[in-house]
């Protein structure tokens, strides 16, 4: 994590000059110098970094240069939006990716499997931004059945805001989460396919066949469970990249999540927000890694004993 803070800090030192972004268009040179002093940008880089780390350790990310509000509060506001589409995208990716992957593994030469394979290849070959714009064109502009942007009506539960409880909130989730899930779905589908093919050729599946167990039982009760083990890892770790991929998706659909916050922050050189976002992504990765390890231990008896 310390490495992440250093990277975060160093990179943002150089991505732009916040003074210019904050000052008036016709501000004088003195005005800008004064502003730089107020931001502490006139001090040596090492001093700045020290202060930065000290604050981060105290979980104080400072206040946004642009919004004049605590960064933690900004992130907290946006977190639910991002996590909700990431959640829906993950569920969709699993709900479609796993069955399709199994289909492709069981009938690798069947027509359906070939079609799914072809579509999946197109899926990973098409940039997210193109998919998003195409979906908006079709479902929002032409068919007018789904909203093109935003979260719709949200319901506030404590500090969490959710779009799951209103019709417009759910409708708004469809296009962004579909856009976001496509790549993951393809990934999971292909992973399940290759794992399933591997598992089906193992001795224990042969042995199960030799015991005359029904095909469905062997495929879905036994083999699938083995094939899903790596899916846990990949899905877990991919949630991290989903959060990052959400940058593009959120921009296209004006989804008020953290990705949009980050893009806006880059645009306005809002360093505290950028740094906090990067730290969040780093933290998320560490967190997801831990979750995956724990899950693995729960699912795989071989690890359960060791731990």
């Amino acid at each position: 994590m310390l490495a992440v803070t250093a990277v975060a800090f160093l990179m943002f030192r150089y991505v732009g000059d916040p003074v210019r972004a904050m000052a008036r268009e016709d501000s004088s040179v003195e005005e800008r110098q004064e502003l730089a002093r107020a931001l502490g940008l006139d001090q040596p880089v090492a001093v700045q970094y020290g202060k930065f780390v000290a604050r981060v350790v105290a979980l104080d990310f400072g206040i946004s240069y642009r919004n004049h509000r605590p960064v933690a509060a900004l992130i907290g506001e946006r977190l639910p939006a991002t996590l909700e589409i990431v959640f829906v995208a993950t569920v969709l990716a699993l709900a479609f990716g796993v069955p399709l992957g199994v289909l492709c593994a069981l009938r690798p030469d069947g027509l359906a499997a070939r079609a799914v394979q072809a579509v999946s290849l197109i899926g990973i070959s098409t940039p997210t931004f193109v998919v998003g714009i195409a979906l908006i064109l079709v479902f929002a502009v032409t068919l007018k059945v789904l909203p093109s942007f935003g979260r719709g009506e949200v319901v506030t539960l404590g500090w969490w805001t959710t779009g799951f409880l209103t019709p417009s909130g759910i409708a708004s989730l469809v296009l962004p989460s579909v856009t976001l899930c496509l790549f993951q779905m393809t990934l999971i589908m292909r992973l399940v396919r290759s794992e399933m093919i591997d598992v089906l050729s193992t001795d224990y599946i042969r042995f199960a066949r030799a015991r005359g167990l029904p095909r469905r039982y062997i495929h879905f009760k036994l083999a699938l469970r083995n094939a899903l083990m790596p899916v846990i890892t990949v899905t877990g770790l991919q949630i991290g990249s989903l959060v990052a991929f959400a940058i593009v998706t959120e921009t296209v659909f004006q989804w008020p999540g953290m990705g949009l916050l980050f893009i806006q922050a880059i645009y306005f050189v809002d360093i505290p927000v950028m740094a906090a976002y990067l730290l969040f992504v780093g933290f998320l990765f560490v967190f997801l890694n831990t979750v995956v390890d724990v899950l693995y231990a729960l699912v795989d008896p071989r690890l359960r004993v060791r731990s």
Binding site: Y14, V15, L121, I122, S125, P127, F129, I266, V281
Partner: protein, 291 residues
């Protein structure tokens, strides 16, 4: 093992497109990077078959009056060039570090893999955005056309090398435990020779597979970066830049500016992916002989 027809077609398409990209100056009707050759007067001409086009510009022109066909050929050249170089750079770094980590283990392994973990905790796009921003700011002439491709190559490779390193490390550990490596050690050959002469050639197959699939990924990443505005400049466009420019026109009826580069990009990436996919299945012993 029989190679499916679709893969052969994909291979031919990929080869042709890459070849076209390489020899772009020879086959493109115009040089779109020479700003003196195009004129705003010719801007936004539709493709020739719509009846309103101009025979000089078969696929029409973009908003600057640039011949779209030439721009796409040159754009593919830039995309493939950057993607290819990024793959090469990533593979070189990744294979070297992976070999060292896998063969020697110990602290080298720990450092390399930890660095890889950190890198991997940042998604490609995010990392590339940061690296390109950093490079532009730090280099004296960072925004210059001359430097941009190298910045992009670095920005993409900095993330992708990890995959090679991990794969090669794992393969090197497997190979390193095999008897032929033991035999080489028993003979007393020095570690460097064993790594380069014995292990390296035997771990290259997965590297080839990753490289192919990464080429597709790198082209896509470059396109996304260019789409986000940190990629190639408009006077030296990649396919991604062309799509970004064209994207501003999707609602205005000037569809061809975005559509043709997008189709080219998807076909290119798709073809490379299909070949990569086939190679992966082929090198996976468990899948071999099944299809």
């Amino acid at each position: 093992m029989r190679v499916p027809g679709s893969v052969i077609v994909a291979g031919i398409v990929a080869t042709l497109m890459i070849l076209a990209a390489i020899v772009a100056p020879a086959i493109a009707p115009y040089d779109p990077t020479d700003m003196a050759t195009y004129n705003l007067i010719d801007s936004e001409l539709p493709p020739v078959w719509t009846g309103e086009g101009d025979a000089r510009f078969p696929l029409g022109t973009d908003n600057q009056g640039r011949d779209l066909l030439s721009a796409i050929i040159y754009g593919a050249r830039v995309s493939v060039g950057i993607g290819g170089a990024a793959v090469l750079l990533a593979a070189t770094i990744g294979v070297s570090l992976g070999l060292l980590a896998g063969y020697f283990g110990g602290w080298i392994d720990a450092v390399v893999m930890r660095a890889g973990d950190i890198i991997m905790s940042f998604p490609t796009i995010l990392l590339a955005l940061l690296v390109s921003g950093l490079a532009r700011a730090l280099m004296p002439d960072g925004g210059s056309v001359g430097w941009t491709p190298f910045i992009l190559i670095g920005a993409i490779a900095i993330h992708d090398w990890v995959q090679y390193a991990r794969t090669v490390r794992a393969a090197a550990m497997v190979e390193g435990a095999k008897d032929y490596v033991k035999a080489a050690r028993v003979i007393g050959l020095p570690g460097r020779r064993i790594m380069l002469h014995h292990i390296l050639p035997n771990v290259m197959s997965p590297v080839l597979v990753i490289a192919t699939i990464n080429l597709a990924g790198a082209v896509l990443t470059e396109a996304t970066l260019s789409f986000l505005g940190v990629g190639m400049p408009p006077n030296y466009p990649s396919l991604g830049t062309l799509i970004r420019i064209g994207n501003e026109f999707v609602f205005s009826g000037i569809w061809w500016i975005a559509l043709f580069p997008a189709i080219t990009l998807v076909i290119l990436v798709l073809a490379v992916n299909m070949v990569g996919d086939h190679l992966r299945d082929r090198f996976n012993p468990k899948l071999r002989g099944r299809s």
